[in-house]
Point group: C2
Chain length 347, copies 2
DNA sequence: GTCGGGTCGGCAAGCGTTTGCGAGGTGACC
DNA sequence: GGTCACCTCGCAAACGCTTGCCGACCCGAC
């Protein structure tokens, strides 16, 4: 008989097991297991069951999920792979995922790729090692497709937020092309005929879609798109600033409107414009993407395409839960909407 | 011999185990275990070791962390309990925790309490069931103390972000009193002599500390503090709006400056002021707390006390890692700093 | 040739559960 | 009174890994 460790104050105490409860009640551990398992509880005499429950409570018994996981092959955890938790764009998605995972009694296990393929692979490996019941990939880039599909043979993988073109993995995404089109049409309606776009990294499908849909719509509507030679290496403030600055330095003939591939880049661009004493929207109209939490409150309030972050997260979580419950489930594609504020106006 | 499942496309395949690798190489599983474990690899012949490594690679072997966890009692996971992932204040903390946990090869397991004690207790239970190696509590309220201390007898608990007064658990916090004092002194220097504060829920220690330190400093400096009868039930935008509105309706004699217990409340207050055609900072100065990501860009740029969120998260993660590595570690208390922008000005 | 010591690797127990199988007991029914 | 069904519960295997212990074998020293 193992001696229970002394309870010196602050000292760790080991938790009671099924055996402990069994000994307490005077039954076999398997009986305790059954008594405590709602779906098996019918197999045990109500009286013993009650005795077991009481003893369990008295001893402070908690099921050992690790042992259960080993036995059952399920850990009730879901891996969530994000690019960068510091990015305001992903946290509402995580929030959504967490919320709907909770309904299935799952807990998210989170890691960040820093947008590096190496790290992505390592994290995926790690998660499979941990035997997560599924993984939600929020950080997929084109180059990650293979490892994701390999992983999907081991555990269900759902791709969310960033689409993975050419893959048959279940996806929860939104219509980037539609959003970019909205942006272009909005600028067209305001009379802009000479515009530019500040592009994010094109191996992230969202930006690729936005870029081509925006260009195409411009062509259709007869808008001149001034070419920005560089592409943002990451969709962040600094890159927006850099690209805008480059554009301003190169070209004395500034476009009347700029479409930034996301809000952070738009904010960076805004700073670059201000530095040049160009004001938004008087001198140039500026439109972003995502509608991050504070965009209504910045100066000027940013016109932007609303990306339904939380909904994407919720849907991704739901899809996982449904799938794990054995239900059929289909891809999800949500629609963006245009939020017109004060950073755009007629020429 | 168990038949390996067919590989129909899209079908799940079970992962190879130590036994599989052992069979492949023709050695005993324990040898494989040793060969693959860096700290035990010296115990096995370099040749067999190489053979094992190669076979493991070929088969795509991944250690089964659940089994290992059952055996070793460590899961390499750390529970992180937040109040609300939708809150801009917590995500940088989580970001920090995640980053420093990574250095110890831990992964965070995250859940949200929604600031409800019931949920807090349930989540804590759940995490102990999962045998997380430690828990980081970001969501502690006064009423959660007992369950946290109980939990701490089972697994190391570190309290971060929200202090837990009267508890001897390791804490990573910041000096709320100092921050509130800075705010009061700043307003005093600007000549304000009649101010108000918009308080957050006082069973969250941060707000309690801010409230009393602010009042005390006002008294010391001879500033009149106009009483706001109500207290925010949650530290959010809506509550800031509500409190400010109540203040404006009750009192025709508006204070010249307002200290909001956090930025979100400040923003709510700002909206209420605008509604009354009162402008900031011309009519009333406004000061917030936390310095959320976008506060430099809102209109007007918000003067606020900078809360070192990411650093708090980093420190909390480091403390956990150190503790789990058996090192001694002390409480951490970081200092706030005042960020003067344009929402405050001389009377 | 024997023996001591060192190296390598097999054996098996054990971590805490779940679960199929079957033993034992009880009651009903013929 | 015997058979059978049913209820309750114990037994033991299994999940995949780690590790203490011990046996086998080899080498050099005496």
């Amino acid at each position: 008989m193992r001696a229970r460790p002394q309870r010196k104050d602050g000292d760790q105490v080991s938790m009671p097991t099924l055996d402990d409860v069994a000994r307490e009640v005077g039954v076999h551990p398997s009986t305790v297991s059954r008594a405590l398992n709602p779906s098996k509880a019918g197999l045990v005499n109500p009286e013993t069951r009650q005795a077991v429950e009481e003893a369990a409570r008295r001893l402070g018994y908690r099921p050992h999920m690790v042992a259960r996981g080993l036995q059952s092959g399920r850990t009730a955890t879901v891996g969530v792979i994000a690019a960068d938790l510091g990015n305001q764009f992903v946290t509402p998605i995580i929030h959504g995922v967490t919320a709907s995972l909770e309904l299935g009694e799952f807990m998210p296990v989170i890691a960040e790729t820093q947008d590096e393929h190496e790290r992505f692979a390592r994290i995926l490996d790690h998660m499979l090692s941990r035997r997560v019941d599924a993984v939600v990939a929020l950080a997929a880039r084109a180059g990650d497709r293979q490892i994701l599909e390999d992983a999907a043979r081991i555990a269900p993988v759902v791709v969310a937020a960033r689409p993975l073109p050419g893959s048959r993995l279940p996806q929860v995404v939104h219509d980037d092309a539609a959003g970019a089109r909205m942006a272009a049409e909005h600028l067209h309606e305001l009379g802009h005929r000479r515009v530019a776009q500040l592009r994010g990294p094109l191996d992230v499908a969202n930006f690729e879609h936005r870029a081509s849909a925006f260009s195409e719509t411009c062509r259709e509507l007869g808008i001149e798109e001034v070419e920005v030679p560089e592409i943002g290496s990451r969709p962040i403030y600094d890159e927006g600033y850099r690209l805008m600055k480059a554009l301003l330095e190169r070209d004395t003939d500034v476009p009347t409107a700029v479409f930034a591939h996301n809000d952070l880049m738009a904010l960076g661009a805004l700073a670059a414009l201000k530095e040049r004493d160009l004001s938004v929207p008087e001198d140039v109209s500026l439109i972003g993407y995502n509608d991050l939490p504070m965009m209504a409150l910045v100066d000027p309030p940013l016109t932007t395409v609303r990306y339904p972050s939380r909904e994407i997260g919720l849907a991704a979580g739901e899809l996982v839960v449904a799938h794990l419950a054995g239900e059929e489930s289909a891809d999800v594609c949500l629609q963006p909407s245009l939020v017109v504020r004060r950073s755009t106006r007629p020429v």
